[in-house]
Subunit: 342 residues, 2 copies
């Protein structure tokens, strides 16, 4: 390994000068800079990151914590896409990205402890927001820089988070359905202890209420990716004598499952029933019919959280922020206008 000393020797300057050249310090003459850089190139010198980290007490690395991978939720294309967004700014800022590897909640917690105490990373991005999360509490207590994608369940004012306005999105997409003449609108969502689901559902209900439509319990279903129990619940929904004419689904991937069940039930979308959902991941445009869905700008969700986090690590005094990423409805083919039944 070629070190700073080798470069110094070879270019006839002192190690500190080389160090300054690396940092592009303005107090070094252009001439020596050139000379040193030439030698660096010749020798194939590259700074040792660990040595540097040790002295500057910063790693220029940020950690990304994925949700517990014990369920299939991780196969959601949401994750590669948000990773891509995060990666873009991380790369731009010359940082590096460390990904959590724990599978269970417990493992993840231990891992985070190591990351924090062992100074593996300067900050953390949490890719989920659950009710009563131990990890969040820990990070908050430690006053370790972190941002969460979604909404913190407590200390909302003190934790910077980047989120969509899921309530409004839920309301808008439901309103759209109402505008198209739908009155019997069901909701199918994922786990209830995720804020996304709750917010989107609340928006759905607000829209119903505002339009003077009733929201019945029978019309609301929560299912983790349509497995076993989920299929049954959805089955019940379709067998209701007062069958809905439209469904708001909280996630494109769940929609895929719903689409498939509807086909089994010989329900045609959008002719017999309309469907809308959230996220606008790639697959939502290649389903049949393609899905009307709210694009939540996953990439930006990632990019802005990374940006906010890096700012925070650079300046610990940075006040907590709430960043709301705009959404927009992508109109495709899964919704049909119907005549109001009077």
């Amino acid at each position: 390994m070629v070190t700073i000393k080798d470069v110094a020797k070879a270019s006839g300057v002192s190690p500190s000068t080389v160090s300054r050249v690396i940092a592009d310090n303005s107090r070094i003459s252009l001439e020596t800079k050139k000379k040193v850089r030439k030698v660096m190139k010749e020798l194939g010198y590259h700074p040792n990151i660990n040595a540097r980290n040790l002295v500057v007490k910063s790693t220029k690395a940020i950690g990304v914590i994925m949700p517990s991978s014990t369920n299939k939720a991780l196969q959601n294309p949401f994750f590669p896409e948000i990773l891509r967004g995060i990666g873009s700014v991380i790369h731009e800022m010359q940082y590096s990205l460390s990904l959590s590897t724990g599978e269970t909640e417990e493992e993840i917690f231990e891992e985070v402890q190591r990351m924090v105490y062992g100074s593996y990373v300067d900050g953390l991005i949490l890719l989920y927001s659950r009710v009563d999360d131990r990890l969040m509490k820990f990070l908050h207590q430690q006053d370790f820089p972190f941002v969460i994608v979604g909404k913190p369940y407590e200390h909302e004012q003190e934790i910077t988070h980047v989120d969509n306005d899921n309530f409004r999105a839920g309301k808008e997409i439901t309103n759209y359905l109402i505008e198209q003449g739908h009155q019997k609108i069901a909701f199918i969502g994922g786990s209830t202890d995720l804020f996304v689901t709750m917010d989107r559902e609340a928006g759905y209900e607000a829209a119903l209420k505002q339009a003077g439509l009733v929201s019945s319990q029978e019309y609301k279903i929560h299912t983790e990716f349509l497995e076993s129990g989920g299929r049954e619940a959805v089955g019940n929904l379709f067998s209701l004598r007062d069958r809905p004419t439209a469904i708001v689904v909280s996630d494109d991937l769940i929609s895929l499952g719903v689409l498939s069940m509807l086909k089994e039930f010989k329900c045609s979308v959008p002719d017999d029933i309309s469907l809308v959902s959230f996220n606008n991941v790639y697959l939502s445009e290649i389903t049949s019919p393609s899905l009307t869905t709210v694009d939540v700008n996953i990439y930006d969700l990632g990019a802005y959280s990374a940006k906010a986090l890096i700012e925070k690590t650079l300046n610990k005094g940075e006040p907590a922020k709430r960043i709301i990423i705009p959404h927009q409805i992508i109109y495709r083919d899964s919704v049909k206008k119907i005549n109001k039944v009077l």
Copy 2:
């Protein structure tokens, strides 16, 4: 930050003793170990990873290089799943995982250079294998530990790689179709400079040949996720007067698009046309109909590559290996038995 010295002072021993306790050195009495450990816990001591890395010249970190994210291919659930597999062994071995963030090929290349020269990681996993890849060449020249998931296009004997037997998988799944009475079988695959596609296609052709069936150019289509041109090509396929009765698709996600196009063409699967594909990602079981697909054990692909890589970083002399992960056909509802046309 609490350091090894603080622990030493507080427990009345020397720093080196503390260091040995951390390493669980056998030459330290159980008594002092206990004492020191107690103090460590009390003080909340955690070793500084950078300091350690600096002296031991190893990072216990491995880097994972994702393919260029300029295309949508990254949204394939294949990636979260393989990351999960990699993560599992990385976590088990107490390593950490660093993810590439570059978007273009160029960015990725620079990033890898930093990783390698700056000792960010001990080894690298390449999540793609393309023809004539510059990155692979670089790593190979540097003699830096790396493994590739897939097949290297050169130096196959010298580069450890973990792969499926895609040729055999392609042949088997095609044979299955043939056994079900199909004779006119088409192939739809992704980019031709990816080895997976090529191998699966070669298997498909071998099966046809062996069964004495002709393989025509018209029956083979390559498309990057059914966008623009892709749709057209597939459209042509369906409009052929001698329309295929079955299609082998090289990836579940592409199948989703094909499924949707078939629906547009009023082609019912499997009644009018049968479909098989590869990967068995979660979504293949929630499409309608659910897909008969070959499960390539993505998780294992990741886990074994991580394992092989770690072995290699631990023992540079480790010979290059080829690890073949077994596959199996998952029979679902997208294939129909037909009567042979004589």
